[in-house]
């Protein structure tokens, strides 16, 4: 009887979480493959096989080579590593800033909230394109590709907090007047302790949701930043630089293997969305 109940329970669990489990498995697989890039593509992402530039898939180059002869499979793996590891890091930074600014503003309320939201509105209304050009102008030109990668995602993290801050401010504001917070106040809990112990844990679902939303957004933003000289510098690959190969509309149908980075991006972003939908359910 208990075994049967357990079987029914497992079946229900798998049915209810099938998509989420598959999404998690896909994400784990992609991350695993990217971390194993050194073994799977020992030739590396830099070496230019100039005699075989822009070649079709072969035994030596599973996804062919790019325009200057670099192994596309290696570049996809290493690019995945960069985009998938640094985009969450940038998302973490932006969510943390949103939690501090938006969460504190909502919790404190009054003029604090007004000032913080005015600051957020100001940031939202800034012409970011011009601001990023200025940021590029302030940065030294002679930075190594690794520094350029870190700088790119740091900038994304520091600029991407504004929308999340508004959501968190509203959520923290509603928590501030909730019964359990009033009860905690009545019990003598005040200030930072009240925020850390009672408010912040209840903001976690919103924070998770904001975190997951930011990751695909930052992956795509990195691709666009290349135009301003702020993206991941050559020869380092990223999904952004790999997606640039698809700019030529004419070539799309003739060389389907060039779609792999795009397919990977869609699969990963979709997987994030399935994971995210569960987080949203939790948040609700």
């Amino acid at each position: 009887m208990s075994l049967g109940r357990m079987k029914i329970g497992r079946a229900t669990f798998w049915r209810a979480n099938a998509f989420r489990i598959v999404a998690c498995a896909v994400l784990l697989l992609v991350v695993g493959l990217s971390l194993a890039a050194n073994w799977l593509a020992p030739g590396g992402y830099v070496k230019q096989y100039r005699e075989a530039a822009d070649s079709a898939p072969s035994r030596q180059h599973w996804l062919g080579t790019d325009d200057i002869g670099r192994d596309r499979f290696a570049r996809v793996l290493y690019g995945t590593r960069i985009s998938l590891l640094l985009a969450p890091a940038a998302a973490f930074l932006s969510t943390l800033m949103a939690a501090l600014i938006g969460g504190m503003a909502g919790y404190l309320g009054g003029s604090w909230a007004r000032v913080a939201m005015a600051l957020t509105d100001l940031c939202l209304s800034l012409p970011w394109l011009f601001l990023l050009i200025t940021v590029r102008a302030l940065m030294p030109l002679n930075v190594s590709p690794m520094v350029s990668v870190l700088a790119t995602f740091l900038i994304l993290g520091m600029l991407g907090w504004t929308s999340a801050a508004r959501v968190l401010c509203a959520s923290a504001g509603s928590l501030r007047d909730s019964d359990f917070v009033c009860q905690a106040r009545a019990s003598g809990i005040r200030g930072a302790r009240l925020f850390w112990v009672h408010v912040l844990p209840n903001l976690k679902p919103v924070l998770y949701a904001q975190f997951w939303i930011s990751i695909p957004a930052f992956i795509l933003a990195e691709a666009n930043l290349g135009i301003l000289g702020l993206g991941v510098a050559e020869p380092m690959p990223s999904w952004g630089s790999l997606l640039k190969e698809l700019e030529g509309l004419v070539s799309v149908g003739e060389e389907p293997w060039k779609f792999v980075p795009l397919v990977l991006l869609v699969v990963v972003v979709t997987s994030f969305q399935f994971v995210l939908s569960k987080q949203e359910e939790l948040a609700a």
């Binding site: 100039r50 200057i68 050009i133 590029r136 030109l141 190594s144 000289g229 020869p235 004419v250 070539s251």
Partner: protein, 542 residues
């Protein structure tokens, strides 16, 4: 008798009428088809004297009538509205003998008064004409003397190098037509313009030229120019048959099109355009002194040049549709190219040896100068230009072989120009140069050390090096001479110095690639602009 006469005249009148109608039918039958192609930007003006942008230049070429025209195929100057011309020995004066019986598109007759009017308008300082700048060789006014309705003499205050060739860019305006600059002498007239969409040109029924059979040119009825900045869309439209030609094609698209429709594509060989890189040699640039020392060393620049594999750049980036570049003049420029010069041979070993001679040493795969500074520099290029981004990445790997670490930075064009011309906050730049004209005088603004466009070290108060002083002297000498042989000697030497000193490291000369539909008859693509429709009055579409 009278009745008899009437009877005998009627068939004669009838037969004459048949002949006239027949003739007119044969003339109209010659006019055939609409040519369609894309402009890559909005034309900024229809006034031929104010033209600065590429799209306006296209309209000017198709509508403007000029006194002389450089044959884009033979590179020889040919008579157009001027039957003949003579340049004085001092190179300041030119006398034109004009064709008679020529009319503007609105019927206004053309005479030497119109030439005088055009020249006065062109040289009016208030107009700020870029075309007119080519004639401003010294202070003073331009004088025009009308000798007869078909003869005029124009005198400039100082020698104008290649004076007659400069008139290839000057369409004649009407001094009397109420339509002003819209009255033209070229094969087509602007009939309709929809901003952001199309420019429609119609056949100029008053165009003066006829073909060998005496039929009035142009053959085409009209030309439809669609404004389309996206090259991918332009290519798709060509493949669908919605446009008839692509004047300038990327090597990538060229190969793709050649694979499916080889009869449509044309590789006319090396063009006048070059791709080059240069180091910042500006004394006040915000760079460490040791880097300035590297960049100002001809030995260092030469070694970098030797370490770059130009053959690979041509073969990989341009898929074989480019040639290793030698210097400021492409081999396509038949007269002015110094044929004694050869492109720098690729030799990383020789480059390393030359650097070691200057105190550089290779330690654990990294090149260091005599003070122990690692040789690291950045190359900027404009973002969005795939060819340049690829070239920079290949140079990065080439230089890595001699221990030099290069950081490739792509910047939006305004930021790049700001660094290049205002802040001088850069180390090396990779860009291209588009040459439209053949004459070396058109490169004066690049080679004179006092010029703002002397990119590696602009606006020098006095030449900072002996070789720059020598180039200044030679460029002035060639510009001040009307003797083509002497000019060539001077400019040959400039090319030699440019190769020895490597202020610009010339990389490749791109080939002139184009695509022309099989429906276009009479097309013969060449390397000079406009590559595909230079003989537009003899093209037809069936």
């Amino acid at each position: 008798m009278q009745i008899m006469r009437k009877k005998s005249i009627a068939p004669l009148v009838l037969s004459l009428a048949v002949i006239v109608v027949g003739l007119s039918l044969s003339v109209t039958a010659a006019a055939q088809g609409e040519l369609r192609f894309c402009l890559r930007s909005e034309p900024k003006t229809f006034d031929p004297l104010k033209v600065e942008d590429d799209a306006s230049m296209v309209i000017r070429y198709l509508t403007g009538g000029v006194l002389v025209r450089l044959n884009r195929q033979t590179q020889v100057l040919e008579p157009e509205l001027a039957q003949s011309w003579k340049v004085s020995k001092d190179g300041r004066q030119i006398t034109f003998k004009l064709r008679s019986g020529v009319s503007f598109s609105d019927g206004t007759p053309f005479s030497s008064e119109d030439v005088a009017y055009t020249v006065q308008q062109l040289m009016d300082p208030a107009l700020h004409s870029a075309t007119g700048d080519a004639f401003r060789s010294g202070p003073g006014n331009v004088e025009t003397k009308i000798i007869s309705p078909t003869q005029i003499t124009i005198t400039f205050p100082a020698l104008v190098a290649g004076l007659d060739r400069q008139f290839d860019q000057v369409p004649m305006l009407s001094a009397h037509s109420p339509k002003k600059e819209m009255a033209v002498l070229g094969p087509f007239v602007v009939a309709d313009y929809k901003a952001g969409a199309t420019v429609l040109l119609k056949r100029n029924s008053n165009y003066w030229k006829t073909d060998a059979q005496g039929l009035r040119l142009p053959y085409l009825d009209s030309i439809r120019l669609d404004i389309q900045p996206n090259r991918d869309v332009e290519m798709l439209r060509f493949k669908r048959g919605e446009i008839d030609l692509i004047n300038s094609l990327d090597s990538e698209y060229f190969d793709k099109l050649a694979a499916t429709s080889p009869q449509f594509v044309h590789d006319a060989g090396p063009s006048l355009d070059s791709e080059q890189m240069w180091f910042n040699q500006v004394a006040r640039a915000p760079l460490p002194q040791y880097k300035k020392n590297w960049f100002r060393s001809a030995n260092f620049r030469h070694a970098i040049s030797e370490a770059i594999n130009r053959e690979d750049l041509s073969r990989v980036v341009f898929r074989g549709h480019a040639q290793p570049a030698v210097g400021p003049v492409s081999p396509a420029n038949k007269f002015w190219f110094n044929s004694k010069l050869q492109p720098e041979a690729y030799s990383p070993d020789a480059a390393l040896k030359a650097l070691q001679g200057d105190g550089f040493r290779l330690e654990n795969g990294t090149l260091k100068d005599k003070d122990g500074n690692e040789v690291v520099f950045s190359i900027i290029t404009n973002s969005g230009n795939k060819s340049r981004e690829r070239m920079a990445t290949m140079i990065q790997e080439d230089l890595q072989k001699i221990g030099i670490h290069v950081n490739v930075v792509t910047l939006d064009f305004p930021s790049l120009i700001e660094r290049m011309t205002q802040s001088f906050d850069y180390e090396a730049i990779l860009l291209g140069l588009t040459n439209v004209g053949l004459d070396p005088s058109e490169q004066m603004n690049v080679w004179l050390s006092s010029s703002e466009n002397h990119q590696w070290n602009p606006s020098e108060k006095a030449p900072e090096t002996a070789w720059e002083a020598e180039i200044d002297r030679l460029m002035r000498a060639q510009a001040a001479s009307a003797d083509a042989k002497k000019r060539k000697e001077s400019f040959d030497r400039v090319q030699e110095i440019a190769l020895e000193q490597a202020p610009f490291i010339y990389l490749v000369n791109r080939n002139a690639l184009s695509a022309v539909s099989a429906s276009v008859h009479g097309a013969s693509p060449v390397i000079l602009v406009p590559q595909t429709y230079w003989n537009v009055d003899q093209l037809s579409v069936k």
